[in-house]
């Protein structure tokens, strides 16, 4: 066949468009632009000399026929059938949804964002209330406590986090000691680095860094687990069987996180002090015995209470926001990712806000 395996081309003379070559997606090249630049409208189309043709080629022909209402010559039976099929599929279609004017869209998105934030906060409070109610009914019926689920969460949230939290805290202790020593050395007061290490780790950083780590490690896992269970209709299945998802899924996670956060926070503070102590020993020649002695002198007991009081509250925030976001998943798998991110961001944000509130509160009651 003439024109087989040649790029698509056409000649235009005396009103006749004569196509040659393969009219296929791979071989049309710049044909659409050239066709648009025709000097005058064609009177007829001749496709007797073409090689292969696919739906894209047929569409090009159909487009000319539609615009200029011209006859097509030389179409074999198959090609004529193809042209008919393409013509039947010629329906105007939008590729993407309409976007309004820019300014309105900004306002629209701001409004939607504000509403979403308010709704999310309201939903979180709602969820917190539901958790408390479930907890209350569980206290009245202690046999319904799911010991296995609880033990499993203790292992995942607590035991398996020990290594990473320990490593992180150890390094943070070293960094605080090193930075403190560098700055205080200017006044010849590097021995006060011990005060810095002791107070900041026990009062603030031990619990705060642990909260951030637990939010990233466990809060996100809660959201992803519950989210994918929601997608797979597992949670609906639970409800129809008569198992309360709040009782079976949410409470074990919340209880374990609330109970474990003080322990993990205390552990983190201790490891951070060990890191700081080792740095003091190596860099400042302060022997461990002296380091421990100093710590006991300069760190008031109230610092420990500050840390231990904050920890369960942070744990509650992390677990509630992880479970809440997970339960909000609907629609598609993309939502699981979005909700997981949202749970971590929400948890860390609320933890830091509350940390500031706690700081003001404790200093106002004299626990400085």
């Amino acid at each position: 066949m003439a024109g087989m395996n040649a790029p698509a081309d056409f000649q235009f003379d005396q009103g006749t468009l004569r196509f040659t070559g393969d009219l296929t997606l791979a071989r049309i090249g710049p044909l659409p632009e050239r066709l648009r630049a025709l000097p005058e409208s064609p009177q007829r189309i001749d496709i007797g000399g073409i090689g292969h043709i696919d739906t894209v080629g047929a569409w090009l022909i159909h487009r000319i026929v539609r615009e200029h209402d011209v006859p097509v010559d030389g179409a074999s039976e198959d090609v004529a059938h193809l042209l008919e099929q393409v013509a039947a599929a010629d329906k105007p279609l939008k590729i993407r949804p309409d976007a309004g004017p820019g300014f309105l869209r900004v306002l629209d998105e701001m409004g939607a964002g504000t509403l979403a934030a308010a709704r999310s906060l309201y939903g979180l409070l709602d969820f917190f209330g539901a958790t408390v109610i479930t907890f209350g009914s569980l206290i009245r019926h202690p046999r319904r406590v799911r010991i296995n689920a609880l033990a499993r969460q203790f292992e995942v949230v607590g035991v398996q986090a020990l290594a990473i939290i320990g490593l992180m805290s150890f390094l943070i202790g070293i960094v605080i000691a090193q930075q403190g020593a560098v700055q205080l050395r200017q006044f010849g007061a590097e021995v006060f680095a011990i005060n810095l290490i002791g107070r900041i780790t026990i009062r603030e950083l031990g619990v705060l860094m642990t909260a951030i780590m637990v939010a990233g490690r466990s809060g996100s896992a809660f959201a992803a687990q519950l989210g994918s269970m929601k997608l797979a209709e597992e949670i609906d299945a639970m409800r129809t069987i008569g198992v309360s998802p709040m009782e079976a899924l949410v409470l074990p996670r919340v209880i374990s996180t609330v109970l474990l956060m003080p322990m993990l926070g205390f552990y983190a503070a201790m490891v951070a002090m060990i890191g700081g102590g080792i740095f003091c020993w190596i860099d400042l020649d302060i022997p461990p015995i002296t380091f421990v002695q100093r710590i006991r002198e300069v760190v008031p007991l109230t610092d420990l209470w500050v840390g231990l009081i904050k920890a369960p509250v942070f744990g509650m925030i992390i677990a509630i926001s992880g479970c809440f976001q997970g339960m909000q998943v609907k629609g598609n798998a993309e939502e699981v990712g979005l909700r997981t991110t949202a749970s971590v961001v929400q948890a860390i944000f609320l933890v830091i806000v509350l940390d500031a509130v706690f700081a003001v509160f404790f200093s106002s009651i004299g626990w400085i």
Binding site: L25, T55, V56, K91, P92, R96, P97
Partner: protein
């Protein structure tokens, strides 16, 4: 018919294919040829590895042993660039549609075209997406919608539109009618048949749908006992005395589908 023309007419050739996941052997010595222009139905009980067979042919699952040739070219251990040239010639419809969730239906259809022909005229690209969507039997409103806004049946049609984006010569369909209502399933069958005739497609069709098998498949391959136990038209398969095949096609559902098919052709 000499050997050369015979080779050109075989679009997919699978020989001695063996697939295993750990100790569990799914396929042990599968041989299967798919000829140009036919609709081959693949049936088998649940867990016989129909989808795994399709995945090994399209290169998503590396087999333990055997050869797979598509368009006469071996698909195993191919250089990525060469494999891409072959991939441009087939379209795949996955079970759930596997649409990209962040793109609209029309943008989904444009993805393969953009990938292979980045210089294509923008207006033409939009028009191609439009007629592909219409050809797949979707209403025009579906174009700017996101996959999460579509029903299961519409998602399958959108998946088909994307599979057809590059005008492939070969189409893989994984249970295209599963989960559709009978009317929708029949319409989908018709759609596939009409596209197959219009575009001269070769279709590799995995299905459990007996009506689909009777209505549009030229030949049916039966997977059982880790291999293809028979390939042929449905009357040919019925002539074999294999208990599973007999039960499959002559059970209550099989008979009902056969009756419906004969009523339609009569």
């Amino acid at each position: 018919m000499n050997d050369q023309t015979k080779k050109e007419d075989v679009i997919i050739r699978v020989e001695g294919l063996k697939n295993a996941f750990g100790d569990q052997v799914v396929h042990d010595g599968i041989d299967l040829d798919v000829s140009r222009g036919e609709i081959l139905g693949v049936v088998g009980g649940s867990g016989t590895g129909k989808s795994v067979l399709m995945r090994s042919i399209i290169g998503l699952q590396a087999p333990v042993a055997g050869t797979v040739e598509v368009f006469g070219e071996s698909m195993l251990d191919r250089d990525e660039h060469e494999a891409k040239q072959v991939r441009a010639r087939w379209g795949v419809l996955f079970q759930g549609g596997a649409l990209f969730s962040t793109l609209t239906v029309a943008e989904n259809v444009q993805v393969p075209i953009r990938e292979y022909f980045p210089d294509i005229d923008r207006q033409l690209l939009d028009e191609i997406a439009a007629y592909k969507v219409a050809m797949s039997g979707l209403p025009a409103e579906a174009g700017p919608k996101y996959p999460s806004e579509l029903s299961g049946g519409m998602r399958k049609r959108a998946g088909l539109a994307r599979a057809l984006a590059l005008d492939p010569q070969l189409l893989f369909l994984d249970e295209p009618t599963a989960g559709l209502d009978p009317i929708g399933a029949a319409a989908f069958d018709e759609l596939i048949q009409s596209l197959q005739r219009t575009l001269g497609l070769t279709v590799f069709l995995i299905t459990h749908d007996l009506d689909t098998l009777h209505a549009i498949c030229d030949r049916v391959a039966v997977l059982a006992d880790k291999r293809v136990i028979a390939v042929g038209t449905i009357p040919e398969l019925l002539a074999l005395d294999h208990p599973w095949i007999q039960e499959y096609f002559s059970g209550p559902r099989g008979r009902a589908a056969a009756d419906a098919a004969s009523r339609n052709t009569a």
